[in-house]
Amino acid sequence: MTSPGLEQILFISAALFFIGMYGFFTRRNLITMLMSIELILNSVNLNFIAFNKYVWPDKMDGLFFTLFIIAIAAAEAAVAIAIIINLYRSHQSVDVESAENLKY
C-alpha cells in the first residue's frame, strides 16, 4: 500500500461513478435510481476536488465547480422527486418498468 494520492482518489471516484452507473441501470425503483445519480455526482465532485488539490492548486475552479454541482444536484433531485411523486400518483407505482408505455 502506497501513500494515498491523486491516483487513489481517482480510483475511488471512478469506481463510485461506475457503481452509480450500475445502480442506475439495474435499479427498478425510481428513488433508488435517483440515489444512484447522487452517487455519480459525488464521484464527479471527488474528481474535481482531487484535481484541484493535487494538480491545479493555484486556482479554486474545481472547488467552485463542486459547490455548484452540489447545488444543482439538490435542485435536480427536488424536481426529480416532484416528478416521481406525480408519477406515483398516476401510476400508483415508482417502478420504472411501470412507465414504459411510450415506445417504438
Partner: protein, 186 residues
C-alpha cells in the same frame, strides 16, 4: 504506513463498500442508509484532503438535505417492509459488463496520463477566500454562476410546486382523453 494513510483507506473502503451495497441491497431503507454512509465517507475524504468547507457543505446539503428528501419520498411512495423488485439477470450482466469496460477504460487512461506535478504550495482554501470569490465579478469571480444558480433554484422550486402540488382533478375526462395509442407493429 501512516495514520493518515490508514484513515484514507478506511474512508475509501467505507465509501466504496457502502456505495456497492447501496446499489445492490433490496431493502430500500438500507439503500438510503448506505447512500448516507457513502456521502459521509466522501465528506470524510474531503476532510482528509483538508477541504473542510466542501466537506461541511457535503454533509449539510447531501447528508442533511438530499438524503432526507430521499427518505421522505420513500415514505411517500413505499409500503413498509416491501422488498425492491428484482431486475432481470440479463440486464444485470450487460450493465456490469458495460460498467466494467467503462471503468477499465477510464482507469487505464487516467493511470497512463501523466498529470503535471503542481508547483504551487498545497493550501487548503479558506472560507474567506471562497466567499470573496463567490461574489466577485472580476477575474476568477463566480458572481454570475451564483446568480444562475439562484434562477435555477427559483425555477426548480416553481416547477416542483406545480408538479407536486397538483390540485384535485376537476375533470375526470382528461384521463379518458389520454392518447389512444394504436400499436404500430405494422
Amino acid at each position: 504506513m501512516t495514520g493518515s494513510t490508514i484513515i484514507f483507506y478506511l474512508l475509501a473502503a467505507l465509501t466504496l463498500v457502502s456505495g456497492v451495497l447501496s446499489v445492490t441491497t433490496r431493502h430500500i431503507f438500507r439503500a438510503a442508509i448506505y447512500l448516507l454512509f457513502t456521502l459521509i465517507g466522501i465528506a470524510g475524504i474531503y476532510f482528509w484532503m483538508q477541504y473542510e468547507f466542501i466537506a461541511a457543505v457535503q454533509i449539510v446539503v447531501y447528508a442533511g438535505g438530499i438524503a432526507v428528501l430521499i427518505i421522505f419520498s420513500i415514505f411517500l411512495t413505499q409500503q413498509a417492509g416491501e422488498k425492491l423488485p428484482k431486475q432481470k439477470m440479463e440486464r444485470k450482466i450487460f450493465s456490469a459488463l458495460a460498467v466494467f469496460c467503462g471503468f477499465a477504460l477510464t482507469m487505464v487512461q487516467v493511470l497512463q496520463h501523466e498529470f503535471p506535478v503542481s508547483v504551487a504550495p498545497v493550501t487548503s482554501p479558506s472560507v474567506n477566500d471562497i466567499g470573496r470569490q463567490m461574489l466577485n465579478v472580476e477575474e476568477s469571480g463566480f458572481a454570475l454562476p451564483f446568480e444562475v444558480i439562484s434562477m435555477l433554484l427559483l425555477a426548480a422550486m416553481v416547477g416542483c410546486i406545480v408538479i407536486a402540488m397538483r390540485e384535485k382533478r376537476e375533470n375526470l375526462n382528461t384521463e379518458q382523453k389520454n392518447i389512444k395509442r394504436i400499436p404500430n407493429d405494422t
